[in-house]
């Protein structure tokens, strides 16, 4: 079946099998490999993207289900001239990543959290990121970065 998905404001059209997962579409057909696959079982959050503005785990959505919808991935956050999104800048400044594998999903989940609640407390950040696992940082600097970005967003 033919599926058209607008990813970071560019429409991609591809013939797919109905069983293709959104994360495969993004990585293999759209060629946007910033979105990672970690667990493949909706537990780790590495594959988090925005679907119509809300964070979702793209390993647990079919590409066919989002035909005609808007998806935003980590590649869509920075400005055209390379200026980082405030969340990316905060991750950079707070040293909120080490290996970086969880980072695209962590950043996308965090941006969605702040969109829904611009005045997050530390507890709300920790709870709001419970679906994203990081095996390196111990989360401390990630939480700091999200709080810093939420100050900027205010």
């Amino acid at each position: 079946m033919e599926v058209n998905i607008k990813i970071n404001s560019v429409t991609h059209s591809h013939e797919v099998e109905p069983r293709m997962l959104l994360v495969q579409y993004i990585r293999e057909l759209a060629g946007l490999t910033g979105t990672n696959i970690g667990c493949d079982t909706s537990s780790c959050g590495a594959c988090t993207v925005h679907l119509n503005g809300e964070s979702v785990k793209s390993c647990t959505v079919l590409a066919a289900q989002v035909d005609g919808m808007n998806v935003e991935t980590i590649e869509g956050l920075a400005e055209g001239d390379g200026t980082l999104h405030p969340m990316q800048q905060a991750f950079h400044e707070c040293h909120a990543l080490q290996c970086g594998y969880c980072t695209p999903g962590m950043v996308m989940a965090s941006v969605s959290l702040i969109d829904e609640n611009p005045s997050l407390t530390e507890k709300e950040v920790r709870e709001g990121l419970e679906g994203n696992l990081c095996r390196c940082t111990g989360y401390h600097n990630i939480v700091k970065a999200v709080l810093q970005a939420s100050e900027v967003a205010k």
């Binding site: 079946m1 069983r19 909706s42 959050g45 964070s55 066919a64 289900q65 709001g128 419970e130 679906g131």
Partner: protein, 274 residues
């Protein structure tokens, strides 16, 4: 992990959805949020020939105040219900149970109808609907019918829905003066409950729904009856494992779950003012 091949059917109305499942019978599966069905399909524990996508049925996404009861469309997502003011005021335990589901990404996709129709004893949401004594509205090729939540679950991942029926609406009696509590015991933040309990108490109504204490979502009639007969929280909670058939798995033995049920029900009743 990729599901086995299937044909994808996109529907734009409830009637189209019912036509598709009537035509294909047990070869077809509705997909709502997909957050229970797709994991099963990826593990090849479910291999439907036809997958019928109901995500575009905006007619089933709502929370209405219908006078005596709240009406919630089956496709309303968890993230809408957990934040909805009408739900928080009149059926607070449902808002709490829904908020405890997974993580924000899961709650952006998962739907109340999917959480009920899946018939999972480990799911938090049915326990709240049992405590609240909800009524479900199903529609099939023969028309609509009402199903009491007490008659809906028939076994492990099995429900009273016929092959050609789907859930349309959940009706919840409004209990603005009730006190409630939702208790969930798990090891890590995002995990499913090892045991959970939804509790509702007011002058005319006590409701106790348990998570993971049977092969299907379970109402604790023993605790409810004791409370109605004047037992205090501690006395009633001692009965929380009566008639249960708790599973033993990697997380907990049957005996440990029974202990947890007694503890969580006691805490819940105390929090709900008993």
């Amino acid at each position: 992990m990729i599901p086995a091949p299937f044909d994808f059917i996109q529907v734009d109305s409830v009637d189209e959805a019912i036509a598709a499942i009537s035509e294909h019978g047990d070869e077809a599966k509705l997909i709502a949020g997909g957050h229970s069905l797709l994991p099963l399909m990826k593990f090849r524990l479910a291999t439907p020939t036809y997958v019928v996508d109901i995500n575009r049925l905006d007619e089933l996404k709502y929370v209405h105040d219908a006078g005596d009861y709240l009406a919630i469309g089956a496709l309303t997502r968890h993230c809408e219900i957990e934040k909805n003011e009408i739900v928080k005021t009149n059926a607070g335990v449902l808002a709490l149970a829904t908020h405890s589901v997974g993580d924000p990404q899961v709650r952006h996709r998962g739907t109340i109808g999917g959480a009920i129709a899946h018939g999972d004893p480990a799911s938090d949401i049915p326990s709240a609907l049992l405590a609240l004594k909800a009524t479900l509205i199903a529609k099939g090729s023969e028309g609509e019918r009402e199903i009491s939540i007490d008659d809906f679950f028939t076994g492990f991942l099995e429900t009273d829905l016929a092959e050609d029926e789907m859930l349309k609406e959940i009706r919840i009696p409004k209990l603005p003066n009730a006190k409630w509590s939702f208790q969930k015991f798990n090891r890590r933040a995002q995990d499913w409950a090892i045991v959970g309990a939804s509790i509702i108490c007011d002058d005319s109504h006590v409701g106790v729904g348990l998570v993971n204490m049977h092969s299907m979502p379970f109402r604790s009639e023993a605790v409810e009856a004791a409370l109605s007969n004047g037992a205090n929280a501690e006395e009633a909670a001692e009965l929380a494992a009566e008639n249960t058939e708790a599973p033993t798995d990697l997380n907990a033995s049957k005996g440990y779950r029974e202990h947890l049920a007694r503890v969580l029900v006691r805490r819940g009743l105390q929090e709900a003012g008993r």
